[in-house]
């Protein structure tokens, strides 16, 4: 049996033997990314509301900033958060460095511009006749926008999935602010990097397979939802 085949065989054995360490890592990843996703969705909803309904100075600048941050390098977020949260940093007193909370913030910061930017672009490029139809039937501006969001559900869901993809695949920022502590802040992506570095490929491959399965399940669910509606 070749080295690769042997690694895959061991990886599947790990998955099917319900390995405690493996499932602890998956649990941490899902909890951190799930919470970060909820946070990113809430912030994105607030930002979209602001951009769509409120007039304020610097609005164009905010849109440009959000679009720029869509390509934000994770290590830069990690570095900034590290500086803020480190003992001598301005938020050091909160003692959040190397905790799941710090990782949640890092991931939410990365996902928010993607969800906001893509959703807002979808809303802005939508057929104005949709909103006009709702308004002409007696909707308020807010109700008409809600209807528009409902009409754009596929594009907005796709932006949420893109944001989730960014979270699940992220390594740099969570490694810097989470520290990859076993049983506490160790996540799937950081474990893959560490295990591959050590030459222990079976756990890395097992985690890779699970990550792929999660991505496949999310996309499958989206596709199912699109077909059903």
């Amino acid at each position: 049996m070749s080295f690769i085949e042997e690694s895959f065989f061991k990886a599947f054995s790990l998955i099917f033997s319900v390995n405690t360490e493996l499932f602890q890592i998956i649990r941490t990843s899902l909890a951190v990314s799930g919470t970060a996703m909820i946070l990113a969705l809430l912030v994105s909803a607030g930002l979209i509301y602001l951009l769509e309904f409120r007039k304020f100075p610097g609005k164009t600048l905010l849109i440009t900033l959000i679009n720029t941050l869509m390509g934000l390098p994770p290590v830069v977020v990690g570095l900034l958060l590290y500086l803020l949260l480190s003992r001598s940093g301005p938020l050091g007193v909160l003692e959040l460095l190397y905790t799941p909370t710090a990782m949640i913030f890092a991931q939410a910061i990365l996902a928010t511009p993607i969800i906001t930017g893509l959703s807002f672009a979808a809303i802005r490029s939508a057929d104005p006749a949709i909103k006009l139809a709702a308004l002409s039937l007696g909707a308020t501006e807010f109700q008409a926008t809600c209807r528009l969001v409902l009409e754009l559900r596929y594009s907005i869901l796709a932006s949420v999935v893109a944001g989730l993809g960014r979270l699940m695949a992220e390594v740099g920022a969570v490694l810097m602010v989470g520290g990859n502590i076993a049983g506490y802040t160790r996540m799937m992506t950081t474990s893959i990097v560490m295990e591959a570095d050590k030459g222990d490929f079976e756990l890395a491959i097992a985690l890779g397979i699970i990550l792929l399965l999660i991505a496949f399940t999310i996309n499958g669910a989206l596709h199912f939802l699109q077909k059903r509606t």
């Binding site: 006749a129 949709i130 006009l132 139809a133 002409s136 039937l137 007696g138 909707a139 409902l150």
Partner: protein
């Protein structure tokens, strides 16, 4: 019940170009047809008097039996007494039922009777067999009938129609024209309609509003307008010299 719509020196510009500069009074429960060459400001005027677009200047007064409202663009109650159906109406990507029920739900009408009301209106436009079909999958004629049903179910005081039969086949055109006439006859409410078809204007309307280059050139009874237009422009338009 809305009794009068009075537009005074309404002006609208797009890109520095004045597309509308007119005054208008609608105070009858008949059918008004706005006609005129392309770019004469018909649809702009319709969007303004249906409270969907604000003019750059001028005053729009809408009066019911007890009071008058000046520029009531933010008055939701008043807005909900008026409905506009556009040409190529944009239906929601949802069933015919959910499209038609949308406006009723916004008005928080008694939810027990919603289904009955919707079914009755959908039957009126001849789409009972398509009530659970996704509206955007219907033919263009059926889509326009759904749009009309979506408006009629709300029983508006004034119904605005912007070229409701444009690019429809003769059968669907006739169906929609009959719907408009029947509703006006039954409910006795005002309809303001923009059309490019002189035949439609002649057969449907009680009054003609003839527009040219953003101005109302004539407002007269339909039979008088088509028999003897008061203006040179009106004569040229009827004879097809300007379009």
């Amino acid at each position: 019940m809305i009794k009068k719509i009075n537009g005074m020196q309404l002006e609208k510009q797009y890109g520095g170009k004045t597309v509308l500069s007119c005054s208008l009074q609608v105070d009858s429960d008949g059918i008004f047809c706005i006609i005129g060459p392309n770019g004469s400001g018909k649809s702009t005027l319709l969007r303004i008097i249906s409270l969907l677009e604000k003019p750059d200047s001028g005053e729009l007064v809408i009066a019911d039996h007890s009071q008058s409202f000046v520029n009531p663009f933010e008055n939701l109650n008043l807005r909900r007494k008026i409905v506009l159906v556009s040409s190529h109406s944009r239906l929601f990507h949802d069933t015919v039922f959910n499209n038609v029920v949308y406006g009723l739900k916004l008005r928080k009408k008694d939810h027990r009777n919603l289904r009955e009301q919707v079914e009755r209106t959908v039957k009126m436009v001849g789409l009972t067999h398509k009530i659970n079909t996704i509206a955007t999958d219907l033919s263009s004629g059926e889509q326009q009938r759904t749009a009309i049903a979506r408006a009629l179910v709300l029983d508006p005081d004034v119904l605005f129609l912007d070229e409701p039969t444009v690019s429809l086949d003769p059968e669907n055109t006739k169906l929609i024209e009959n719907l408009i006439l029947d509703w006006n006859k039954k409910e006795g409410k005002t309809i303001v309609l923009v059309t490019h078809s002189l035949f439609q204007a002649q057969t449907l309307s009680d009054f003609i509003i003839f527009m040219y280059q953003g101005k109302i050139v004539e407002l007269s009874e339909t039979k008088n307008f088509f028999r003897a237009p008061r203006t040179e422009l009106g004569q040229q338009f009827i004879s097809g010299k300007i379009y």
